[in-house]
Amino acid sequence: MLWLSWRQFRAQAALAFGALVIVIVALVMTRGHVVDTYSSAGDGDLTGFYVWLRLLGTALIGLPAVIGAFWGAPLLTREFEDHTHRLAWTQSVTRNRWLATKLALIGAATVVFVAVFALVFTWWSAPIDSTGNRIGTANFAQRGIVPIGYALFGLTLGALAGTILRRTIPAMAAALTGFFLVRIVVQKLVRPHLIGTEAVSTPSFGSNGLHGWIVSTRTVDAAGRTISTKAAETTLTAACDITRATADVDGALAACARRLGIHDVAQVYTSDRFWTLQVAELGLFIALTALTAAVCFWWLDNRTS
């Protein structure tokens, strides 16, 4: 079964890994220039060809969906459309073993492919990231190890779509849509609460000097009660006699707030927690992968041709 799975997959694998080799070579060869650009002597601005290379990050974000649509969905739909499942399922292997072997092979290829791509790209981007933050931006999804989780989930989601819908185009569409839906939901609603944020006290109306991702902030009074920003402003302008005529309104507000004990509390993921968050989100998506795969096997077994 492994031989057959490989035989059916090898053209796609050759294409993908061939392209990957080119990408890796390009990244390795250009990394020196990136380091120079972002060193103390450089101007911190990548131009020309390098803009394209940075776009590889965007490609990395779309990659899991593409894997789902082009590797996952056709895994089953090609067989259904050509009726070759009637040939494959009447040999001496059970349907479960057939699907498991295919998913295992392509899953392994996915892990290797995405891991190499993502980790080399993370290494290449490190000088750029050191000036900004990668935990709190969209860059989080194109660095480190989470792309591996995304890709595995995309793959099994594609396979599930193929098992249910049985036609290639609808399954690809469903895989793409479903994947991005899940990704957006996780990014917006789950990730802020995935690992515990730290509560950090920062001055109101001033710069907070925090490095990382500020998930949320709120203003509190001296007693620790939460107050709205509007209420804080009202209190401060009244207490410290600040008007539109005051010279530096923000500075005055900040000083007044310090005096009255009003400050902000920020829920933060500091930059040093980047890898912790990465592992957590990877774990989440591996769990989603397992769940999706389980549903896929169940559907294959119970909703037969």
Binding site: H83, W89, T90, S92, V93
Partner: protein, 299 residues
Amino acid sequence: MSAAIETSAVGKRYGRAWALRDCTLTVPPGRVVGLVGANGAGKSTLLHLAVGLLRPTEGQIAVLGRAPGDDATQLARVGFLAQDVPLYSRLSVGDHLRLGAELNPGWDERVARARIDRVGLDPSQRAGGLSGGQRAQLALAVAIGKRPELLILDEPVASLDPLARREFLADLMELAADGLSIVLSSHLLADVERVCDHLIVLAGGQVRLAGDVDQLLAAHKVLTGPRRDPDRQPADQTVIQQRHTDRQSTMLVRTKQPVLDPSWTVSDVGLEELVLAYMAAPSAATVGRAAAPRLRSVT
């Protein structure tokens, strides 16, 4: 020795429509079984149930004594050739044999190779480039390479030219001579008549007739004679089909007793005539006076 296929009130429903309903059959081993019926009569459904591609909505089915498609051992005992002969078009002839070897522990490479060589197939040629007859032969090689006890074929020769069809059937008969049980569906009655010794007739998802061909032919007679009322027939004769002109009546009857009425001219029935009569007959219960509850195996 367990029956090749045994079903008990088996049925399969898709949504609201029943593709197969209330089918009870016992197919003895060592036969070449012809499964006939119009398109949509339920032939493919029954065969897919037998190889485990489908699960019954109701009833039971047992193949070689066990539930179909349950596990690797059972899958190894039954070979299948699906309708329109699906193959992997990008894989070569040799790749398909490799597929057989990889997916079947009981694979006999010599047998498969011998068949390929006999038909003159080039192992390096892609399956997508083969003719209809060559595809059928390749699929047959893959199906029998695992040395099954039962071979099931879904309209294997429907789209073959006459020469390829004859060669394919001849090859099947050789396998039958070696003891392989064979079930093949076909809507070409001439082929069925030549090669099958057991018959199942399906119409509208139900079994209309089933039994050994010799026994079925012996149990039916065509009666021709002056015009008369079919309800006057003796109780032991079941009228399957009847035609009347103003002077003459012709009836196909099923009976175990000899026909003694001298006004009838009695003749044997041919297989094609018999099958067509049962396919055309309305639901079993309304045929003739002696309403047989079901027309099944003729004992």
